[in-house]
């Protein structure tokens, strides 16, 4: 099923591919976050060849973040402190016969430990589509929402995150699902770099090529969403509805 404030599957995947293409070809990303560049390259090839089955991406990048620092500060390469956090960014757009089944984006913040990667925070940004089969969900929730924790991603387990580390966050509890604007890959990566910045990532975010991508994705996924919110709030159809009336789905 489609949502009137959400782009078509083709447009969304095309846009996500352009983001991967940028990440795989960017000097800053390649030099500083090899896994992100490498994954962008591999998932780009995967999704380009298999548009019809959707889009997938999983990667991570390591940053130094002062509040996560403990003990005396030691400088490593190029005068920077060694990274202490691993930021996982992932995306899954699942299609069936060209129709959205599921769209989810994930940001996880893990500590770079000597053993494993303890999860400090984990968020899912989901778009929920009605299955169209008349079956009701166990509980109504916003069609676009932010969820704290969510289930373990198989790729995170492969990366070395232990089941016990995610269990501490009680992933069985899906509620509350917070009504939230839709996410996209560039918006997710940009947010991660913005929230956990260093001087070089700030320069990367400031490049015109990256800003162009951000603006395009804002126009693609955010503009129609906010327009719809505005329409509801100013009540252009005189229906006296709340945002929850419009955006919660069964």
């Amino acid at each position: 099923m489609s949502l009137d404030f959400y782009p078509s599957a083709n447009d969304l995947i095309e846009s996500e591919l352009s983001v991967l293409n940028h990440l795989r070809n960017d000097t800053y990303i390649k030099e500083n976050h090899y896994h992100l560049a490498d994954a962008a390259n591999k998932y780009y090839a995967r999704s380009k060849a298999n548009y019809e089955s959707g889009f997938e991406f999983f990667s991570y990048f390591d940053m130094w973040h002062r509040p996560a620092h403990q003990g005396k500060l030691k400088l490593a390469r190029r005068g920077m402190p060694p990274p202490n956090l691993r930021l996982v960014v992932a995306s899954l757009i699942r299609l069936k016969k060209g129709v959205f089944q599921n769209v989810t984006y994930c940001l996880a913040v893990c500590r770079l430990g000597r053993t494993g990667f303890p999860i400090l925070r984990k968020f899912h940004f989901d778009i929920t589509f009605s299955s169209g089969d008349g079956k009701k969900k166990s509980q109504a929730h916003p069609s676009c929402h932010l969820q704290y924790c969510g289930e373990m991603l198989p790729a995170m387990a492969e990366m070395g995150v232990l089941e016990t580390q995610i269990n501490q966050l009680n992933p069985w509890l899906s509620e509350p699902r917070l009504f939230s604007p839709p996410m996209s890959l560039a918006l997710l990566v940009d947010m991660a770099f913005h929230e956990f910045p260093d001087q070089r990532s700030t320069k990367f975010r400031d490049t015109s090529a990256w800003k162009d991508l951000i603006r395009k994705q804002e126009a693609l996924v955010l503009k129609p969403f906010y327009q719809k919110c505005l329409d509801v709030i100013v009540d252009i159809h005189d229906q006296k509805q709340t945002l929850a009336d419009v955006f919660y789905v069964d």
């Binding site: 490498d38 995967r46 380009k48 997938e56 790729a155 070395g160």
Partner: protein, 320 residues
């Protein structure tokens, strides 16, 4: 300028005439000859399609040490015949010849392995002739000589060295393009060798041989390509493998490659370090080794011998 089909082999060791005859070259024996005069005479003739030149010419007449080195002659020949490839051969250990001297030639081979390079030398000859006839209107035209997949052209343009971007009509373009293609062949990124290609598709090299025909359209057939040491466009490899076996959620090319016809358990790749399945990359055994094996990214770290380069795979080595 007219270019003849001739190959000149300039050497002061007459025993190499037989090898020169085998490849159809005119052997120019400079033993006890005045090299300057001989080269002057050659330069009055039409440009040949290839020159093979002995690197050490210490049995020629005359005492000037400059004329005892093939590299000096190579530069003089290039001055006049800038679009003619010059291949050096030597019995000396290549590692003892400094890079500046090596660069005087388009390629420098050990004579003891000459027969292994015959196909490459043929590819150099054909490639230079093609480029000499080719009228590039811009750097993108040069890329067409590589016959790349359409969706790699933009990345190749970005990766193209500045000297090729700016001097695509310069007579040295064939030499520069050869040097770049050599790099594309040597460093995995745009092109993969059989070990990288096998690993990308989740197979060992024996397994890849079983399905190699499926990847015919991925083989590099551009300028300077050789069939005895093939390369595959990595983007075409993944495109073919994903189209034949669409991936399930979480699957990458090294998962779906195992679903190719005729593949059995014995053809699956495995990580040399941890012995577990699905290695994603190829890495050296250590920082001194030239032996490579399939490994997981997590079982390796950066090989300090190599610089990290945009558009190319990282060169890695097994964790100690």
């Amino acid at each position: 300028m007219s270019i003849s089909r001739k190959i000149f082999w300039i050497d002061d060791d007459g025993r190499r005439k037989r090898t020169a005859d085998d490849i159809g070259a005119d052997f120019v024996n400079v033993n006890e000859e005045d090299l300057g005069e001989t080269v002057d005479g050659l330069l009055k003739r039409p440009q040949p399609s290839l020159i093979i030149l002995d690197h050490i010419l210490d049995k020629t007449a005359g005492t000037n040490p400059f004329f005892k080195k093939g590299s000096t002659i190579a530069e003089a020949l290039k001055e006049k015949w800038s679009t003619c490839p010059v291949v050096g051969i030597t019995n000396a250990d290549l590692d003892t010849i400094d890079l500046r001297t090596q660069r005087a030639y388009d390629e420098l081979f050990a004579f003891s392995h000459f027969r292994e390079y015959i196909e490459t030398i043929g590819a150099i000859r054909r490639g230079f002739a093609t480029i000499a006839r080719f009228r590039a209107r811009g750097p993108k035209d040069l890329l067409s000589l590589l016959k790349p997949p359409g969706d790699e052209i933009d990345r190749l343009m970005l990766a193209l060295p500045e000297d090729l971007k700016n001097s695509f009509r310069d007579p040295s373009v064939a030499s520069n393009l050869y040097t770049w293609v050599e790099k594309l062949v040597a460093r995995p990124g745009f092109l993969y060798d059989s070990l990288w290609a096998a690993t990308l598709t989740g197979l060992n090299e024996k397994g890849f041989e079983k399905v190699v025909a499926l990847f015919d359209k991925a083989i590099y057939k551009g300028v300077f390509s050789v069939s005895d040491n093939p390369r595959w466009w990595s983007s075409r490899l993944t495109e073919i493998v994903y189209k034949r076996s669409p991936p399930e959620s979480g699957e990458m090319s090294w998962h779906v490659g195992r679903k190719l016809p005729g593949i059995k358990d014995e053809h699956y790749s495995c990580c040399y370090k941890c012995k577990e399945e699905y290695p994603e990359i190829v890495a050296y055994l250590d920082a001194e080794s030239d032996e490579r094996r399939p490994m997981h990214l997590r079982c390796t770290n950066l090989d300090p011998r190599f610089k990290r380069e945009l558009y190319f795979e990282d060169m890695r080595m097994m964790l100690g």
